[in-house]
Amino acid sequence: MAGLELLSDQGYRLDGRKATELRKVQARMGVFAQADGSAYLEQGNTKALAVVYGPHEIRGSRSRALHDRAVINCQYSMATFSTAERKRRPHGDRKSTEMSLHLKQTFEAAVLTELYPRSQIDIYVKILQSDGGNYSVCVNAATLAVIDAGIPMRDYVCACTVGFVDETSLADLCYAEESGGVSSLALALLPRGGQIALVQMDARLHQDHLDTLIEAAMTACKGVSKVLDQVVRQHLQEASTLQE
């Protein structure tokens, strides 16, 4: 698919969005009763399910326990039906392992782990359908799940990918854009304080453009955080009316 025009002269992207517009985000919290916390999140055509167990005692070897804070254990996987061609290996490959590690780092920065010494929090994320921005969708879904589990966090962690084309930054890339030769950057943000939990980028980009790109990513993340906030508030409302 060489030569796709990622940004038209009139400022439209392939799917009709403008450069700064996000994909449509829809989410639900508390989808499973058995788990401590769970959430389902759609960002455009990328769909993810996040489940949280814990905090609970360390399972497996005790030696992993930390005396002053909780251990966060993340696992990322993709459903075999999530891509256009059936995936052979749903988890455990190199990419998934890396992604798990990134998730772990992100949430270690966000969750108040010091409240739960010698315990463990498990976050499992599964991509049901993949259409670009897998990492950010996972982070967003997992945030909701952690909130659903009632684990205290410093702030929402919101993530978004941004790309750089024709001297403009595109927010929230879809798969066609990601594979179309855009240098993309993923950023996880604690929006209220503006702290960055994680930045990841493995493409070439001129140093001069990095600041604008990060700026664009932070704006996009704040946009995501608004949507997540709405979802949480709505969920709370529903939950409280049920209890009454």
Partner: protein
């Protein structure tokens, strides 16, 4: 944050069928770009006017097939739908880019409408609906949307080639008409003959394509994915096909880009031998080749060949095989407009069975014959016609094309000049009314005046500085002036260069600016000139004439009076009044202390006159001193003396210039040139520092050492050694390599050195590492063009950059948005290309005039056809010579096709006899009947010049050896300049009288043929131009490997 409805979009990829789901966001607010809009759309600057009778919405296949018609400027109010644009995109990137430029260009009244993102005009594709049907439906729904959106105030016409659609939709909605292209053109544009002709010619070509017989002549091209994969794996090689001009049928080279990762050395390119292997690729295409096994490799032919097409397989030089391959696919067609000649009647008769199809012969020998379907074959006999290629199927021996425009009968001066323009892709229409409206008014009765408000913003140098210009005699467009004065009791010197402030009059993005950007440079042909800017600017408002106030961009240096070190530099906009408009001879005479009359001083009384004269002379002397110092500085850095002798050699090729430049260069020339180089250099520094990655500079990469081989070898034969390691070493060794008996030797050596040079080019600083900025020829680390904004677009860009840099310095945000690195790099590429085409056109027109000059002379009797020539290269069956009198370079054959050789009698006269030719490194001998004659390198011989005329191609000069002695009959050193001026004059006069004799001949406008109107602005610019000509010999690149000069 707008969240819009989302619908699903099903697509299938090529190759492996994969179902892909894509999101598709729709919105209500999509700009309509119409001035009638009632809904406050976010329309930009470019909108469709409201006073048209209708808007036209072309269907997708109309855009794909008939884009050329829609490109006519007369058609207005065209709405290109996104659907149609995407259809064009899938046809090819190039077409799509053409459309994009069309939409961007404010001179065309057309817009693009994103109909697929508009909530109400989008229609999803239904199950089982064919792509074409869906596209038509989308376009129709867009047309309806427009009609409704503009509240019925504008009728909308949809044009389509689909008859079913016409029937289905035409009565569906009042106010939205659906008709076919033909009906549309006939009903709405009955006067636009060009569009209708174009339509018939394209539709015929399309029909032909469908009715093609299926016998296969060429193997099919590989699919794109296979080629891409092959290139990545190293199995195939990608490159640009370049056909050998002299053996167009057989030899073509594929020049690879960048280095090949393979072990083989492919730097000299891959040979593609024969038409079958070339597989429908045309000169200039980007192709993919596969290497043949080593056993099938072939060498290139190094012998001189006469004419083309004589397929002498005998000398298929097997001795020196090089990588040979065959074309497996074409990545990108780089087809342009071609000029072809229709064959005359007897030639067409052979195809009388199908008289609609005519095989026409392109003017450019590298292009294969083109098959054209036309009903005008009879009327177009022997005419030159512009055609475009449509396709080349594997079932056809020749490509299909359609005619676009008739230029005229072959052989006529006007036709030939137009041919040169078209072949070099030069398009110079007269300036339109809208463009002229942007120009300020100035007439002899009410001359333009400086605006006091504007003058207050500028630094006023009118009274404080003695400003003067030095130009050739009679120059009208003065774009640079100089000033020099001493400051602070003589401890400081202030040197000033003041350049016409063109950007003040030409706003960025204005129509004039766009036109200038498209032209990029003023085109100088042998007998005419096409200006970059309208005459009101170039000859009046921007011309820094004496005695009137003008706006200028100035650079002022404060120099230490003793050491001449720079203390301070000031850049800025100024108002100046030039006090003296000197010319070179006058300035030099003043410097030499001769008694001369300065016209500006005539009115003063004697005492005042003396005082003023003394001031002027003092200024000139100061200037000369500074310039000497600057020159010395650059010489130490290794600046190449490529002007001097070299300039004149190149000068001879260009008559305009020759007519102006005196044979002995004066020191004052160099003084002015040096000041300009200095100004360019400092401006380059300034903009590069202000905009480290978006400044337009000019660099001259060092030459590749292997290109010097010919020079070094030739010099060795002559007993000189040439050191080419650095520019300084080269300059020094060239200075040493002079033969006191024959000044031509040094001149020719310098010519060869020039050919080895790479081309100087413009670039954007963001696209090159800083160590690549170096200007080899001038020995400067940064260089740009600043001093001739009237005739070069690059200078205009640099002026804007400098203005922006100054604004930035004052803390203000630059007014206009600066071009980004990428845009600037594209622009630089464009300007480079235009410069090269301008040079090619210039030399082609020079060649044309040479041929016209000799065409009407009998070579046997006319003495002027005999000339002295010097041998500068030895080939297998002949020598290459340079005729200095006419500036002609060409081959002289010592062996003809019958195997006869030239043998010299004792008195030097030569005859054809049967014999043998032997080639040695420094000489070539012919042996016939026991007597041997030798032609040495750098020896003088006498040649006869005649014209080999050709109906379809350009005429060519043929040189024949008459005697191996120097030409004696020539009057001693007739000034070449005059010779050339006469040549042009005479040819034009002849052409004119021929025109008058032919009563029905169209009357040509006087201005167009006013051949001596080309007044080059000043000598510095001439020198610059020459330097460029010298650095960029258009034939230099193929010459590296192509031993044959001309053989047409």
């Amino acid at each position: 944050m707008i969240k819009t409805e989302k619908t699903l979009h099903l697509r299938r990829f090529r190759g492996r069928k994969v179902r892909v789901v894509r999101e598709h966001y729709l919105r209500e607010q999509v700009p309509c770009f119409s001035s009638l809009c009632q809904a406050d759309c976010a329309n930009g600057i470019k909108v469709l006017p409201g006073d048209l009778t209708h808007y036209v919405v072309p269907d997708a296949d109309v855009v794909v097939n008939y884009l050329e018609i829609l490109e006519l400027r007369e058609l207005q109010g065209i709405i290109f739908t996104q659907t149609a644009c995407q259809a064009l995109h899938s046809k090819g990137r190039r077409y799509y880019n053409r459309l994009r430029n069309l939409v961007k260009d404010p001179r065309y009244h057309c817009v693009q409408f994103a109909n697929e993102f508009q909530q109400y005009s989008y229609c999803p594709r239904e199950k089982g609906e064919s792509q074409e049907k869906w596209q038509t439906r989308c376009v129709y729904s867009a047309a309806v949307w427009y009609y409704n959106h503009l509240a019925g105030m504008m009728n909308v016409v949809m044009i389509t080639e689909d008859e079913e659609a016409v029937a289905q939709y035409s009565s569906l909605h009042s106010g939205v008409y659906v008709i076919s292209v033909q009906d549309y053109l006939q009903n709405f544009w009955p006067d636009l003959q060009a569009a209708q002709e174009l339509y018939t010619s394209i539709s015929q070509a399309l029909e032909e394509k469908e009715a093609e017989d299926s016998q296969r002549e060429f193997p099919e091209h590989l699919p794109a994915e296979v080629m891409e994969a092959g290139i990545k794996s190293g199995r195939y090689i990608q490159g640009t096909l370049s056909v050998n001009k002299h053996r167009a049928l057989n030899e073509a080279l594929v020049l690879t880009e960048g280095s090949c990762s393979q072990s083989m050395d492919l730097s000299s390119g891959v040979l593609v031998h024969g038409g079958k292997n070339r597989n429908r690729a045309v000169h200039g295409d980007v192709v993919v080749v596969e290497l043949l096994p080593k056993s099938e490799w072939k060498g290139r032919v190094t012998a001189l060949t006469e004419g083309q097409g004589d397929d002498r397989s005998a000398d298929d030089g097997q001795e020196n095989p090089m990588p040979t391959g065959r074309v497996v696919g074409v990545l990108q067609r780089n087809w342009r407009d071609y000029v072809v000649t229709f064959p005359s009647r007897d030639a067409t008769q052979s195809q009388s069975r199908n008289c609609q199809r005519v095989l026409t012969i392109p003017w450019d020998r590298r292009i294969p014959k083109i098959r054209i379907s036309t009903q005008q074959a009879d009327t177009l006999q022997d005419h030159r016609v512009v055609v475009r290629l449509d396709s080349w199927e594997s079932t056809s021996l020749y490509p299909n094309g359609h005619s676009v425009k008739v230029l005229g009968r072959a052989g006529e001066l006007e036709t030939e000049v137009q041919t040169i323009l078209v072949e070099n892709c030069i398009h110079v229409p007269a300036f339109s009314e809208a463009q002229m409206k942007e120009m300020p008014l100035s007439s002899p009765e009410r001359p333009w005046r400086v605006d006091p408000a504007e003058a207050a913003k500028r630094r006023d140098l009118r009274d404080s500085h003695l400003v003067f210009s030095i130009d050739p005699v009679g120059c009208e467009d003065v774009d640079d002036t100089l000033s020099v004065r001493s400051l602070a009791d003589g401890t400081l010197l202030e040197l000033g260069v003041h350049i016409a402030d063109v950007t003040h009059f030409v706003a960025e993005g204005s129509l004039t600016d766009l036109e200038a950007r498209t032209r990029a440079t003023t085109y100088y042909l042998a007998d005419r000139r096409y200006d970059m800017l309208p005459a009101v600017l170039s000859a009046d408002l921007c011309s820094l004439l004496g005695g009137v106030d003008r706006y200028a961009m100035s650079v002022l240096w404060e120099l230490d009076a003793e050491s001449l070190a720079v203390r301070r530099v000031w850049y800025g906009r100024t108002v100046i009044r030039s006090s003296y408009q000197l010319h070179y001879e006058l300035a030099q005479a003043l410097l030499n202390g001769e008694e001369v009359r300065v016209p500006e001083l005539e009115q003063f009384c004697p005492e005042e006159k003396d005082l003023k004269l003394a001031q002027l002379i003092q200024a000139l002397e100061m200037l000369t001193r500074v310039a000497r110092h600057l020159r010395l500085q650059r010489d130490r850095g290794g600046a190449l003396e490529l002007e001097g002798v070299e300039v004149r050699a190149q000068l001879d090729k260009d008559k305009n210039i020759t007519a102006l430049v005196p044979r002995q260069p004066l020191e004052v020339h160099e003084t002015v040139a040096e000041c300009m180089i200095y100004a360019n250099h400092w401006v380059a520094r300034k903009i590069q520092e202000s905009f480290p990655n978006r400044a337009l500079l000019r660099r001259h990469p060092p030459p590749r050492q292997e290109l010097f081989n010919q020079l070094v070898d030739t010099a060795k034969v002559m007993g000189f050694s040439i050191d080419t390691r650095t520019n300084k070493a080269l300059a020094d060794s060239l200075d040493r390599a002079a033969d006191p008996q024959d000044p031509m030797v040094n001149r020719l050596l310098r010519m060869m050195a020039t050919r080895a040079m790479s081309q100087a080019l413009y670039f954007s600083t963001g696209s090159q590492p800083q160590d690549q900025f170096y200007h080899y020829g001038l020995a400067l680390d940064r260089y740009t063009h600043f001093t001739s904004p009237i005739r070069r677009y690059a200078d205009i860009v640099v002026h804007r950059l400098l203005t922006a840099a100054l604004e930035l310095e004052q803390g203000a945000e630059p007014a206009g948005i600066l071009a980004t690195n990428r845009e600037l790099e594209e622009l630089a590429q464009h300007i480079n290309n235009k410069n090269w085409t301008a040079q090619r056109a210039q030399s082609a027109s020079t060649g044309l005039f040479q041929c016209l000059f000799f065409r009407d002379r009998d070579p046997q009797t006319d003495l002027r056809c005999l000339a002295d020539a010097i041998v500068y290269s030895i080939r297998d069956n002949g020598v290459l010579v340079f005729v200095s009198e006419y500036g002609i370079k060409g081959p002289v054959y010592l062996k003809n096709k019958e195997g006869q050789v030239v043998s010299a009698e004792p008195d030097g006269s030569c005859k054809w006899q049967s014999g043998k030719v032997r080639r040695y490194p420094s000489y070539i001998t012919t042996t016939s009947g026991g007597c041997t004659s030798t032609f040495r390198l750098m020896s003088h011989i006498t040649v006869r010049i005649s014209v080999h005329s050709s109906n379809c191609h350009s005429d060519a000069l043929v040189l024949e050896v008459v005697s191996n002695q120097p030409h004696r009959g020539s009057e001693p050193q007739r000034p070449a300049s005059q010779g050339h001026r006469q040549l042009v004059q005479e040819v034009v006069r002849l052409a004119e009288s021929a025109q008058q004799q032919a009563a029905h001949a169209p009357k040509l406008s006087r201005e167009e043929r006013d051949f001596l109107q080309s007044k080059t602005p000043n000598l510095y610019s001439i020198l610059e131009e020459i330097r460029e000509l010298a650095l960029m010999d258009p034939e230099a690149v193929p010459r590296l490997t192509d031993p044959v000069k001309t053989g047409q």
